[in-house]
C-alpha cells in the first residue's frame, strides 16, 4: 500500500530515461532545470492562490462574498491583480539608498524560496533532504528579516523605518520560541532530518504521542510562527492604521508584490513545517488498531494528506488574523519574553524527562 504513492518511483524513472540518452553531467543539469521550473511555477501559483484564499476566508468571517467577478468564483482575481502590479510604474525614491532599496526584495524572496525547498511534500517528493533539515529551515527563513530591515531602512521614510525596527525586534524575539518548540520534537524523534521525523510518526503523530508537552509545543509554535511571519494579530511591522504600510510603504508595482508574495509563502512554509513536525507530514491519520479505518485512510495519497494538514493550519493562522485585535509592541515583547520563553524552557526539561523515562509511545 505504501509503495502505491511512492514518488521516488516517478523520479527514478525520469532519472533512468534521461541517463539513457545523455552523459551524467547533463543528466544532473537537466534534472536541476526540471526541479527549478516546477518549483518556480509552484511558488508563483501557490502565492496567488493563498492571496485569493485569504480574501475569501476574510470575506466569510466578515459575512461578505469576497472576490467573485473575475473567473469562476473570482479565482482569476489575483492573477488580474498580478498583471496590474506588473504594468505599474516602479517609482524610485530620490533620497533612498538605491542599492539596498533594490536588493531587499531579492533577499526576502531568496529566503522564502530556499526555505520552501526543504519541505517534504510526499514520500520521495523532496527537493533537499538535509540531515539538519529543521535547523536549515529555521536558519534560512530567518534571513528574511534582513530583507525587511533593509527595505525599511533604505527607503528613508519614517513609516518604513518604524515598521522595520518593530519587525526586527519582533522576529528575533519570537524566533527563540519557534526554535525551542521545534527542539521538543527533535528530542522526541532524535533526528533533525525532516524525512526521519516523518518516519518516526508512522505509528502516531507527535502531537498525540508526545502527551501534553508536545501539544504545548504545538501551541507555542503556532503563536510564535504567526509572529515570525508578521501576520495579524502580530502585524505591527505593517500596521496599516498607524504606519500606512510599514516597511514596504515606499515600494511600488512588482517590487511591492514580492514582499506580499513572500509573506504568503512564508505562511505556507510555517504551516508546512508545523504539519510535518507535529502532525505527521504526509503520514495518514490512523486510529489505534481500528484496521478498517486505517486501511481506508491509507488509500488517500500522501501528498493530499500533506496539503490537507498544511491548509488546515493556514486556515487557523488566517482565522487568528481576522479575529484578534493587533497587539502593542510592549504587549508583544512581554508575551514572548515573560510568558512563551519561560514556558518553552520548562517544557523542554519536561520533555527531556519524558524521553529519559521512555514515557512516550
Amino acid at each position: 500500500m505504501q509503495n502505491l504513492y511512492d514518488f521516488s518511483i516517478l523520479t527514478g524513472a525520469i532519472h533512468e530515461s534521461l541517463s539513457r540518452s545523455m552523459s551524467p553531467g547533463w543528466v544532473t543539469f537537466t534534472e536541476l532545470v526540471i526541479i527549478g521550473l516546477v518549483f518556480l511555477l509552484f511558488f508563483a501559483l501557490l502565492g496567488l492562490f493563498l492571496v485569493y484564499l485569504e480574501r475569501k476566508v476574510c470575506a466569510i468571517i466578515q459575512n461578505r462574498v469576497g472576490p467573485n467577478r473575475v473567473g469562476k468564483w473570482g479565482l482569476l482575481q489575483t492573477i488580474a491583480d498580478l498583471i496590474k502590479l506588473l504594468i505599474k510604474e516602479l517609482i524610485p525614491i530620490r533620497k533612498s539608498d538605491k542599492f539596498l532599496f533594490n536588493l531587499a526584495p531579492f533577499i526576502v524572496i531568496i529566503a522564502s524560496l530556499m526555505a520552501m525547498a526543504a519541505l517534504p511534500f510526499a514520500k520521495g517528493l523532496h527537493a533537499i533532504d538535509f540531515n539538519i533539515g529543521v535547523f536549515y529551515v529555521m536558519a534560512v527563513s530567518s534571513l528574511g528579516v534582513v530583507g525587511i530591515l533593509l527595505a525599511g531602512w533604505s527607503s528613508n521614510s519614517k513609516y518604513s523605518l518604524i515598521g522595520a525596527m518593530r519587525s526586527g525586534a519582533q522576529i528575533v524575539s519570537y524566533e527563540l520560541s519557534v526554535g525551542l518548540s521545534l527542539l521538543a520534537i527533535v528530542v522526541f524523534s532524535g533526528s533533525m532530518q525532516l524525512s526521519a521525523i516523518i518516519e518516526s510518526q508512522a505509528n502516531g503523530w507527535w502531537i498525540f504521542k508526545g502527551h501534553i508537552p508536545a501539544f504545548i509545543s504545538f501551541v507555542i509554535f503556532l503563536i510564535a510562527s504567526t509572529a515570525e511571519i508578521n501576520r495579524g494579530p502580530f502585524d505591527l511591522a505593517e500596521a496599516e492604521s498607524e504606519l500606512t504600510a510599514g516597511f514596504h510603504t515606499e515600494y511600488s508595482g512588482i517590487k511591492f508584490a514580492f514582499f506580499f508574495l513572500a509573506e504568503y509563502i512564508n505562511m505556507f512554509i510555517v504551516a508546512g513545517i508545523a504539519a510535518t513536525v507535529f502532525l505527521g507530514g504526509w503520514m495518514p491519520l490512523h486510529i489505534g488498531s481500528w484496521e478498517g479505518f486505517n486501511h481506508i485512510m491509507d488509500f488517500v495519497p500522501p501528498i493530499v494528506w500533506f496539503f490537507l494538514k498544511t491548509f488546515f493550519i493556514i486556515y487557523v493562522i488566517m482565522w487568528f488574523k481576522w479575529t484578534f485585535p493587533r497587539l502593542r509592541i510592549d504587549q508583544l515583547l512581554t508575551l514572548e519574553w515573560k510568558y512563551l520563553l519561560p514556558v518553552s524552557l520548562v517544557n523542554i526539561v519536561v520533555i527531556a524527562f519524558l524521553v529519559l523515562m521512555g514515557w512516550h509511545f
Partner: protein, 116 residues
C-alpha cells in the same frame, strides 16, 4: 546533489525577482515629477531624513536575543543525541538551563524586558 540544489534555488529566486523587475521596467509607463520621488508622509512635504537616532529599546532586545539564540544553537545537537546519552545529558541540560534562567531573571530584574 544537495549543495547543487541549494545553489539552484538561490539562482531561481534571483531569476524570478530579477526577471519580473526587468519585465516590469520594460512595459511599465514612466513619468517624471519631483514630488513623486519624495518619501511618503501623508501628502505633506517631507521633513528631514529618516536616518536619525532611534529608540534604544529595540537594540536591547536584539542583544538579549543574541544570548538566547546562541543557546538554541547549542541545544539542537543536544536534542539529537539526548536519547542515546540518557541521564547524563538530562543533568547537564538542567545545569545549562539553570545558568540560562539566571541570565533571564537578571535581565528581568534589571528591567531590560520592560518596554521604555
Amino acid at each position: 546533489m544537495e549543495s547543487q540544489s541549494l545553489i539552484l534555488f538561490f539562482v531561481i529566486a534571483l531569476v524570478l525577482v530579477g526577471g519580473a523587475i526587468a519585465f516590469s521596467m520594460l512595459i511599465a509607463p514612466r513619468s517624471f515629477n519631483p514630488a513623486k520621488s519624495e518619501p511618503y508622509e501623508c501628502g505633506i512635504p517631507t521633513e528631514g531624513p529618516a536616518w536619525i537616532q532611534f529608540n534604544v529599546g529595540y537594540y536591547l532586545f536584539a542583544i538579549i536575543y543574541l544570548i538566547f539564540d546562541v543557546e538554541t544553537v547549542f541545544l539542537f545537537p543536544w536534542g539529537v543525541v539526548m536519547k542515546q546519552i540518557g541521564m547524563r545529558a538530562f543533568i547537564e541540560i538542567i545545569i545549562f538551563f539553570f545558568v540560562l534562567g539566571l541570565g533571564l531573571l537578571y535581565a528581568w530584574k534589571k528591567r531590560a524586558l520592560k518596554w521604555v
